[in-house]
C-alpha cells in the first residue's frame, strides 16, 4: 500500500525541483506566455478523465468523465493556441 504512494512522493518532490530549475530566471517579456503555457499543461488531468469515461452506458461516472474531458480540453487547446498566438508576435521584428 505504501509503495506507490512513496514512489509518487519521490516523483513529486523531484519534479518540483526540476520545475524550479528549468523555469528559473525567466525574462519579464515571457511572463504572460509562460503562465498561459504552464496553464495549458495543467490540462494533463485529461488523462484521469479518460479513465473514467470508458464505457458506452449513460452513467454518472461517464457523464462526469465526459464533462471533465471537455473542460480539460478547453484548458489544453485554448491554452496552447493562445500561447502560440502571443509568441508568434514576439517572433516578428518591428
Amino acid at each position: 500500500m505504501m509503495g506507490p504512494l512513496l514512489v509518487g512522493l519521490y516523483v513529486f518532490v523531484l519534479s518540483v525541483f526540476v520545475g524550479f530549475e528549468v523555469i528559473n530566471k525567466v525574462p519579464p517579456t515571457l511572463h504572460t506566455p509562460l503562465m498561459s503555457g504552464a496553464n495549458a499543461i495543467s490540462g494533463i488531468t485529461i488523462v484521469g478523465a479518460l479513465y473514467t469515461a470508458q464505457t458506452a452506458d449513460v452513467t454518472v461516472s461517464n457523464v462526469l468523465g465526459c464533462a471533465a474531458i471537455a473542460l480539460a480540453m478547453i484548458n489544453v487547446v485554448g491554452g496552447y493556441l493562445v500561447t502560440d498566438r502571443m509568441l508568434k508576435m514576439f517572433g516578428r521584428k518591428g
Binding site: V16, L30, M35, S42, T45, A49, A70, V77, V82
Partner: protein, 480 residues
Amino acid sequence: MSDTRAVVVALIYLLSATLFVFGLKRLARVRTARQGNTISAVAMLLAVVGTLVELNLVSDYRWIVAGILVGSAVGAILAVRVPMTSMPEMVAILNGFGGAASALVAISIYWVDVAEPGKAGTLASIMGGSQAVTAFLSVLIGGVTFSGSVVAYAKLNGSLPGRPILLPGRHVLNVALLVLSMAMGLFFAYGIGDPVRGAAMMWGLLAASLVLGVLLVIPIGGADMPVVVSLLNSYSGLAACATGFVIGNNLLIISGAMVGAAGIILTRIMCDAMNRSLPSVVMGGFGGDSSAAATAGSQEYTSTRSAGAEEAAMVLEAARKVVVVPGYGLAVAQAQHAVRELGDLLKKRGVEVLYAIHPVAGRMPGHMNVLLAEADIPYELLWEMEKINPEFRDTDAVIVLGANDVVNPAAMTKKDSPIYGMPILEVHHAKTVFVVKRSLGAGYAGIKNELFEQPNTMMVFGDAKKVLQELIGELKQLSS
C-alpha cells in the same frame, strides 16, 4: 492489459514527461519559446495517445470523443477570438476549467470505483488510504481553483468591482470552512461505509470548496490579481498532481508539479515587484483597508497643471529622447497601435523613443510586453525597470499612458504610504512628464499620486487612444 502494452504505454508516458521538461525549458527563453510551446503540446498529445492505448480493449470511445470534440472546439474559439488586451482574464478562466476538470475526475472516479459497483466499506478500504485522501484533496484544490479563477476573471473583466469586498470575520470564516472541508474529506475517506452517503458527502465537499474559493479571492483587490492568477495557476497544477496520486499515474504528478513550481516562481516575482509579501496579498483588503482610507483625506490635488495635445506635441517635437510608460489604461483604451504610430512618427524626426516596462504594469505579469508586441514594437526597445531608471535624468519627455501607482514617487519618499518601498519607474526625474489619464482618480492602491503635483508634470486628460491620435495629428501638422 498485456505486459508488452504496459511497457509501451509506460515508455510513451516517459517520452511525454521528457518532452514536457524540454518544452518548459524552451518556453522560458525568448528565442525558443514558440518551439517550446509546440513541444509541450506534442507531449500532451502523446499523453492522451498513451492513455487511449492503455484503455484500448475495454473502451467504448463515444463519451471520450464527445468530450474531446466539444472541449477542443470551445477552446479553439476562445483562443482565436480573445483580444490581446483581455489576456489576463483568458488565462484566469482557462485555469479555472483545468481546476474544475481535476475536481470532476476525482468525483467520477468515486462513482467508477465505489458508487456504481455498489461496494460497501469505507473509501480507504476500497481504493486504498492514499488514493482516498488524494481524491478528496483533488476535489478540494480543484474546486477552490475553479471558483477562485471565476472570481478573478470577473474582477479582471469588470463584471465584479475590482476593489476588495470585505466580509466581517472573513478570516475566521475561511479557516472554519477549510477545517470543515478537511473534516468532511477525512470522514468521507475513512468514516463512511455506505456509497449513497459517501456520494452526498462528495457533493458537500465540492460545494464547500467552491464557496471557499470565492471567499478567498473576493477580498483581494484588482491590482493584486496578477499574483492571484499565478497562485491559482500553481493550484491547478497541484490539483492535477493529486489526481495523479489517485489514479497512480506518474506523468500527472510530474507535469502537475512543474506547473505548480512555475506558478510559485511567477507569484514570487510578482510579489517582489510590488514589494508585498505573499501573506499580505492573500489576506486581502489592499486598496480598501484602513491605511488607505486614512490617506483618503489628503486625496485632493491642489496644484496640477494640464496641457492639451498641441502643447504636448510641441514639447515632443523638440525632444531628443522620449520614454513611454504604458499601464493598464493602455490596455483598456486598446491604444497599442496608436502608441506604435506615435513612436514611428517621433523616430522619423530623429527622436529616440524607448518604452519603460514596470514588472506589474497591467493586470498580468508581462501584459504590456504582449500588447506592444502585438503592435510590432521591437522588444529591444522595451526596457525593464532597473535598466531604464538611470536614463530618466537624461530624458526630455516621458509619456505616462494609463499607469498610476507604478510611477508614484511616494513609494520612495513617504514612509506612511501603503505603497512605500515598492520599486517604481522614476519618471519624476525627467524634464517634462505628460500623464495621459481620464481623470485625477486614484489607481488601484487608492492613494494620491504625488507625481501629478510636481512642477514638471502636465496632465493630459482623456482616453489614451484619443489623446495619442490627437498628438499624432498635431505632430503631422507641425511637420507640414
